[in-house]
Symmetry: C2
Subunit: 552 residues, 2 copies
């Protein structure tokens, strides 16, 4: 005889949901008690819900299947919302279990009572359900898991009243198979093939699940055979990169640059990606970045079979046997002297081991990261899909749980790191092989750029103080130590390399705080060479125009 | 000529909203730039939105007027939701300004696009509005402020698209006066007076705004004259206490105890309070704690004039000139030796200066706090109104901003402190006079009790690990130092007293980490004497029964 929680636990693991990132409260105590009834379920405690949800996101990106979260009523879901937003935007499967008051307690409007469903709709528009009885709980759960796993993957939220959990008579449900995706139909393939055959400049914009080796190779054959340009979305959910894989340039974050990358493209072909728009709107500037004269085609929408669609297109164009261009292995040399953000990226490129999972939430400090790691040994890149900062540290937790034998390297801005700093404790507790680099520039650096970009005039002292993380400057090495993570602070390239060598050779979590103070004009000076080096697609006249436009 | 943000800033300060707790992003940059256009507006930066919202809550509790928050789209509101929930449950006014994409950018579903309103409805059911034009923005803002300030006070959310903010033609709006509350009508007064006149056991349950000196004195006159018992709600938003004020016993958190406090009450008279229900539901136990034979009366609902209602009742019963019983001044002696949670509470009672603002989120460790500070010099108590932990540190920030010349003493459980630890940085940056005591028992201690109370059986290793904050034990002194706050760790009463003396004598923030490891059975042994001492209302047979029921 099982109670609801025990049957739910079995339903989860039977469907392959074998990790639960949790931050429970009283209403989840039966679920917690049921953890021991199911040996296959691993529970990973987080000290803040945003860590749990971000870890579930990172886990699913690497495991290619969902984890569960365990959250405590509306406020717990609220705390987890930002990283669920990132998961939603990255089309990542997550199964939220949100505990609620017992059904007969709701009417009393006790302290923790609130409308959980209205919060959940923000991140789970496709699946929010409140379980109503122990007998039907597992059917609800199986449907939630299937919803999360169906394409496009999504965040599914199952609200679990305490009495549904503690009630007897739970019956596990068998997993439901998500629908099998179909490739693009013949008419679509023919239309796109015809567009490419015109010889006009065409580009493939690849996103979502297409940035894995099989689809990338297929795209690279097309590129080789037909001269199609390959681009990746700005913030990939997960992108395989490095030596031996086709090099694919990412669209730039700055709309000014993305527009340049798209110059003269007459056919933009979407592969599990959206037509590019600027991250924010700016006064007097266009949000939609596709050139007026460009036709947008969808080769494969997020719910379709991407690889099969690419292969169909290659067949239609005779590109199936083309030899794809692959990235050669080449790493930058050892940086020297006083650290800058660029030297940190160089050091990472210099030391990065094979099979690294690189979590990038370095914002402005990581501008050179892409260029510095392009020829590094093969690795996976995880980025900030939804723009809600505070993703990187939790993502690293989840990635390390999913891939315990791979090194995880997380590059995080100081501002971003503070939102979910509690992730460090979970890294220590679970002895995860995560090396975190915190860029301490004592600033919401990107906002200094954005403040100018939005055309805000007369920037006064109060405004500047809102972007400034000094007075006091944070000490992340101390924060790490306070949470049981080995932490050091460095300000030279030599010390950074030494710290990286030690961290990568010593199991368990490490944090390296790199001091990279920088002025706004310094940052501007840094952006320009980055563009010139990291965007090889830019033709010379364009770089000249940009040089003029963006010079400090 | 003003833009929307500048006019909004003026509208806010004209209505008395003079502090903005902010965590901005790009879509809020014009609001940030406008800060310098309005000298009366103070902006306080938080490194996490839950700190900003909790600070706005704490500020309003002490300033008796709302602050604004500045949050970045849906994820920013999500991060702030838990403490807005606490504000909502405490009937605290807060004005949220949530930045959004420019109106013409919404259709592109950019990375940070989400349904903000659906999140806001969780905490702002009474007022959620998206501004649609610069011309009408300030009217929307004035209405939001008036909604927050109308009784019962509430969280009002104004969503501010970037183009509404940057658009020219902003026109400040004059403040709208919130409706004036009326006292209870004559029929209600007469019915309650008649009930009291029967001589049957009657109790006043006081909550919300009634726990301030004038209403407390009026209630104490009634108690003195008519023998009515005075009770306060379990988690007061703000309660004035200490020597010279009427002593009012709070209803216990544990339903088992609250039921005892309500034994034999035949008339329960609500004063800005709800009829008591248990915090959570438990299998086979009643949620509603009012005895079956008890009649519930509402003297003053949250939207009414509380003091006038109490005075009307006193007039009807001839109690207006009764001499209220007042708490005499008496503080506990100096604790000695190895620390326990009880000794920490004793030390606090021993040293607490006049006019302290006591923020209590100490959960199980603070069980003795109420008894130990009952006769302390007059002070204000702020508690966890909505049950969403992570409130105390941010509340302390806001209280210190509202009352810069009063000492703030925040007692926080280790589990609670981690949710919003970033508040320490804001304390350091604003040089706030906050002394934080962190009870480090390396456990979600309350959940150990709750796990038993909900009747979860067979508690295994995995379940226990979810309530256990060891491996590694957090070091809060190091965390404080990492955020620029003076931090020490102590494990004897002598060291604690020394640290408290230093902290209270030295301006700026301090953190004292008290090491109070405790077993579950130890905690049970502690609960019983606490009940006996801190709940003087319990008649002897009841304490005997309880002793039997709760003995370890």
């Amino acid at each position: 005889m099982m109670n609801g929680a025990q049957a739910l636990m079995k339903t989860l693991v039977d469907a392959g949901v074998e990790v639960c990132f949790s931050n429970p409260g009283t209403s989840e105590m039966h679920f917690v008690a049921a953890l021991d009834s199911e040996p296959k379920m691993r529970a990973v405690l987080a000290l803040f819900e945003g860590v749990a949800t971000g870890a579930a996101d990172g886990y699913a990106r690497m495991a290619d299947k969902p984890a569960a979260t365990l959250l405590h009523l509306g406020p717990g879901l609220g705390n987890g919302l930002a990283n669920l937003h990132n998961a939603r935007k990255g089309k990542v499967p997550v199964v939220n279990i949100v505990g609620d008051h017992a059904t007969n307690h709701v009417k009393y409007d006790a302290q923790l009572q609130s409308d959980i469903e209205t919060v959940a709709r923000n991140v789970s528009p496709g699946f929010v359900r409140t379980a109503t009885s122990t007998a039907t709980l597992c059917k609800d759960a199986a449907e939630a898991i299937a919803a999360a796993r169906s394409l496009p993957n999504q965040v599914a939220t199952l609200i679990l009243p305490a009495d549904v959990s503690w009630g007897e008579g739970g019956t596990p449900s068998a997993p439901l198979a998500p629908p099998k995706p179909a490739p693009a139909d013949d008419a679509t393939i023919e239309a796109i093939a015809a567009a490419i055959r015109t010889g006009k400049k065409a580009a493939l914009l690849m996103g979502g699940r297409s940035l894995r080796e099989p689809s990338m190779l297929a795209a690279a054959r097309l590129a080789q055979h037909c001269g199609v340009v390959l681009l990746a979305e700005t913030f990939p959910t997960r992108m395989e990169r490095g030596a031996g894989l086709p090099p694919i340039e990412r669209l730039a974050y700055l709309a000014e640059l993305a527009t340049v990358q798209l110059t003269d493209v007459e056919h933009l072909i979407l592969v599990d990606a959206k037509a590019p728009v600027s991250f924010f709107a700016y006064p007097g500037k266009q949000s939609y970045l596709v050139p007026d004269t460009c036709t947008v085609h969808t080769l494969a929408a997020p719910h379709q079979d991407i690889l099969a669609s690419l292969e169909k297109l290659n067949n239609a164009l005779g590109a199936s046997r083309a030899k794809p261009r692959l990235q050669t292995g080449q790493s930058p040399g050892r940086p020297k002297g006083k650290l800058t953000a660029e030297k940190v990226c160089k050091a990472v490129g210099h030391v990065m081991p094979e099979n690294t999972i690189l979590v990038d939430e370095s914002i402005t400090s990581g501008l050179m990261l892409s260029a510095m790691t392009a020829g590094a040994p093969r690795h996976d890149l995880i980025t900030l899909t939804g723009g809600a900062i505070g993703q990187g540290l939790p993502n690293a937790v989840g990635a390390a749980v999913a891939c315990p034998h791979r090194p995880v390297l997380a590059l995080i801005g100081d501002g971003s790191a503070m939102y979910t700093n509690q992730a460090l404790w979970t890294m220590a507790r679970e002895r995860l092989n995560v090396t975190t680099i915190i860029f301490n520039n004592a600033s919401y650096s990107v906002l200094n750029i954005e403040l100018e970009r939005v055309g805000a005039e007369k920037i006064g002292a109060k405004a500047k103080s809102q972007l400034d993380l000094r007075g006091p400057v944070l000490n992340f090495a101390q924060l790490a130590q306070g949470m049981g993570v080995h932490g050091v602070r460095v300000d030279t390239a030599e010390d950074l390399l030494k710290a990286l060598d030690y961290a990568l050779a010593t199991s368990g979590p490490h944090l390296i705080e790199v001091m990279v103070p920088e002025s706004l004009s310094g940052m501007k000076r840094r952006i320009l060479p980055w563009m010139l080096r990291s965007l090889p697609s830019l033709p010379l006249p364009v770089t000249r125009a940009l040089k003029k436009k963006l010079a400090p």
